[in-house]
Amino acid sequence: MTAIVEIERVSFGYEASRPVLHDINVRMEQGQVIGVMGQSGCGKTTLLRIIGGALRPTAGSARVLGEEIGSLGTRELYALRRRMGMLFQFGALFTDLSVFDNVAFPLREHTQLPEAMIRDLVLLKLEAVGLRGAAGLRPSELSGGMARRVALARAIALDPKLIMYDEPFTALDPISLGAVARLIRTLNDSLGATSIVVTHDVAETLPFVDYVFFMAEGRVVAEGPPEAVARAKVPFVEQFVNGRTDGAVPFHFPAPAYASDLGIGAAA
């Protein structure tokens, strides 16, 4: 299979003394829906930002759609991004534009298509996410789930090869969550794209992804098909998948001995 994303020995830190990613190796195959899971702060969004070219690795190589991200100039990076789509955590719809104009935005910016054709394409994308009837609404009139679906229609407006989802299920009710999860799968298959879903929602994500990476403290601690990884005897993955409050990730933040903090030890 062709690799769409190849991350080799990538490290990254906002400050040299506090690395966020340590020596990461990741390979993502074409046509798959890939989950990147882990606790908040484990580095999964940073990894997504490196893949999107928003951050450059401090060390290592990141190849995306055949291009070495770290060596691209602004023009080449923008050319690469035209082959990508991204869904942000809360949609990031342009609040001064209608639903229709939001979806039309990338088409108007990057193509010379006549307005009649743009209209047809926008209605096609909105129909795919079930919101053709909401074309005239403003983003402020949409529910969280609807906003996420409009943002998804916008992300696929240019038929991208790689679609990235940053926490797509945050603050969604069960119906909207199911709709977004189903759309991620069906849109990926119908477009022949590759999708990367960064999330910490295990139960919702494992059923529809083809491959999953588990991350902890800036490292990949387990990877593989979801059934295999869910059964893996990795302490962090077991704790994460089963939602246990204590284990590899301790419940208590590091602190001095409880007794000495209460002054009991000193009295004795």
Partner: protein, 265 residues
Amino acid sequence: MSRLQKPLERLGSAVMSRIWRLGFAARFFGYMVLHSGTAFGRFGLTIREIYFAGVLSLIIILVSGLFVGMVLGLQGYETLQRYGSSEALGVLVALSLVRELGPVVAGLLFASRAGSAITAEIGLMKATEQIAAMEMMAVDPIARVVAPRFWAGVLSMPLLAALFSAMGIFGGYLVGVQLIGVDEGAFWSQMQASVDVRNDIVNGIIKSIVFGIAVTWIAVFEGYDARPTAEGVSSATTRTVVTSSLAILALDFVLTALMFTGGNG
């Protein structure tokens, strides 16, 4: 030694961060001007921002201009009539407005009304990831969002200052001629004879263009550089109004010294 070292370190760090930020603002200005092709190539984007920054500021500009002119009429008459030269009221009102109050007060009002709105809008776009989304769609937010707002401000400001001055002169006329009874012919003819196009009107327009550049540059920069939180946007908006107001007053002194001294005025 260490007691002295800490405050010195803090002072040095504060000075360095201010200088760094000033340098960043200068590079931002250069990048924005160089990437203004979209603002002029798709002029509709700039026209839309002229509506928000300019047209929606009209009410506050016109009403303030009228009242400032009326106060000038009252105060000017009170002083001039002591020296028996109340007919010069038109000259006093017109020169005060065209040279100073028009550009300065309109600039201060523009900073409060439009500058703060520009900062808040760009800051909120950043906080809600709209700027990041635009970058991920391979659209340069400085060319698409910032530059049209900048040029809209630069184009709007001289027009607003001219309208402020015109409305102020009308206010001075209402109070001086219609209310107090200064001779109407003297009011207009002395004004026409004494106000010079080159020295007074053009210099006033130059001032308003400079203020427009300063205010809008500060507004777009503060919005783009705002911390992406509610508190960050709020303090960026406050900084825009405070910094713009101080910049207008400082620039006004420098420009006045350059324009109206050395036998010019």
